[in-house]
Amino acid sequence: MLDYRDGAAAAFEALYARHKTPLFRFVLRSVRERGQAEELHQDIWMRVIEARSRYQPQARFTTWLYTIAHNRLVDHWRHSGLRIVSLDDEDAQLEEPEGNPGLNPERQAQARQGLERLAHAIASLPPAQREAFLLREEGGLSVEEIATATGTNAEAAKSRLRYALAKLRQALDD
């Protein structure tokens, strides 16, 4: 990002190539609608581009990128009418999703039953827990970095991650 800030276009291309897929999946699995996910993905990168001149390396680029993504998603949920409180409600349950239109139907058909169950279980996690899990799996963030990106403390981040894993484990066992 520093190279891009200093005028190297190739640096941004490398950065984008490295992060585009995990970020896109993070967004897609958070909103569960491909059109929306594409828009949000684009918005997040536009914010990165816009913030180029004032970028300061205070944390890992990945943490900074996912902080932007988190903020964008919070905006999205707020405007979609979802209560922001659900982000911090560890025991909140969302209704079971009807399906994942973001997934390619052919692939869905080919996917094993267990994987489908896992996908559904992830989709049905409360947003805060799902976010913590996805940040860990897609962004490769540590507990501290998850806390930084989501604007919470390490204890809360750790707890969310633990709850998420427990629920996923339960879903796979059932």
């Binding site: 520093l2 891009y4 800030r5 200093d6 005028g7 276009a9 941004f12 291309e13 984008y16 585009k20 897929t21 896109f24 999946r25 897609l28 594409e38 828009e39 993905h41 684009q42 918005d43 990168w45 536009m46 914010r47 581009i49 816009e50 180029r52 001149s53 300061q56 964008r72 905006d75 999205h76 707020r78 405007h79 979609s80 973001g102 997934l103 390619n104 692939r107 869905q108 996917a111 267990g114 994987l115 896992l118 996908a119 992830i122 799996e137 894993l165 996923l168 484990r169 796979l172």
Partner: protein, 305 residues
């Protein structure tokens, strides 16, 4: 199976899930926007990192503080020097008639022209050689005064401070006037004892006019209307400039603009090939309407390409 093993199993399975990727068109649009950003806003000459990012703000603050201190200092200094001026000129004025008060009051009103007489006397001393030939010429022109010996500069300046009150108004036309304001503004003195021709006096006076150095700014404002007009034109030009108006108007419009209108503007910009402006407007749009769902029909025309 321990908890750690179960977690590993979940992660392994998660990695086997579908690997969705953003569409190629989206990638290209984002990369194009990144390149456009570089073209329009090149990198800063010195990247503000670490301590260096404070250099510019601190330097700017220092300049502002220094300027303020200097301004205050100059303002505090000025009244002192101005107070000194009347003390010199008041002594002879007391001896004079009441008529002398009016011109002096005029002089005090015009702060800039009421420069300290001491300073003027000093300057006169320095410039005496320059003025001397002119004075000689003027003396030649007025034969009545020709025999009169020249006064010392300091005495001259104090005498000049009360000049309009003196009973012999047709003063030596060659005498250097340190304060041309009141002299120039004063009505031409009635011809009295000295038969100096008025025409010659008027001709001599402009030759000595360069004295307004003491009242440069006031003189410049009052005595040079073309310069003032030029300045007014410059200020007016800035205010009337299209850039000024369009920016202000654009801001006002943007505040009240509905999302549909903004989308139309973005689409128009894209059609005109002004991609960078369209990108900026799109970012602005997203800031104002983060969750506005762009209609399918508009999406193609609006999203960055």
């Amino acid at each position: 199976m321990t908890d750690n093993d179960r977690e590993e199993e979940i992660r392994r399975r998660y990695r086997e899930l579908a690997r969705e990727e953003p569409p190629r068109a989206l990638d290209e649009a984002i990369l194009a926007a990144a390149r456009r950003e570089l073209e329009t806003r090149p990198a800063p000459l010195v990247a503000p990192t670490g301590r260096r990012r404070w250099t510019v703000p601190i330097a700017a603050a220092a300049v502002i503080v220094l300027s303020a201190v200097l301004t205050l200092h100059v303002q505090r200094e000025q009244p002192d020097t101005e107070l000194g001026a009347p003390q010199i000129s008041q002594a002879p004025a007391r001896k004079d008639e009441a008529g002398a008060v009016a011109p002096r009051a005029e002089m005090q009103q015009d702060k800039l022209s009421a420069q300290p007489k001491e300073v003027e006397a000093q300057r006169e001393k320095v410039e005496a050689p320059k003025v001397q030939p002119q004075r000689q010429r003027a003396q030649e022109a007025s034969p009545a005064k020709a025999a009169k010996p020249a006064q010392p500069p300091a005495a001259e300046s104090s005498a000049l401070a009360t000049a309009p009150a003196e009973p012999k108004p047709p003063a030596d036309p060659g005498r250097f006037s340190p304060d041309p304001g009141p002299v120039a503004a004063a009505p031409p003195p009635p011809p009295a004892s000295a038969p100096a021709p008025q025409m010659q006096m008027r001709q001599a006076a402009p030759a000595l006019q360069p004295a307004p150095r003491a009242s440069d700014s006031a003189g410049a404002t009052a005595a040079s209307p073309p310069a003032a007009a030029e300045e007014r034109r410059a200020i007016g030009g800035l205010r009337d400039s299209p850039r000024f108006d369009t920016r202000t108007l654009a801001k006002r419009e943007a505040v009240a603009e509905p999302p549909e209108k903004m989308l139309e503007r973005i689409a128009v910009l894209r059609r005109e090939g002004r991609q960078k402006e369209a990108d900026d407007l799109y970012v602005e749009f997203r800031k104002r309407f983060p969750d506005y769902r762009i209609p399918e029909a508009m999406r193609e025309q609006v999203l960055p390409r």
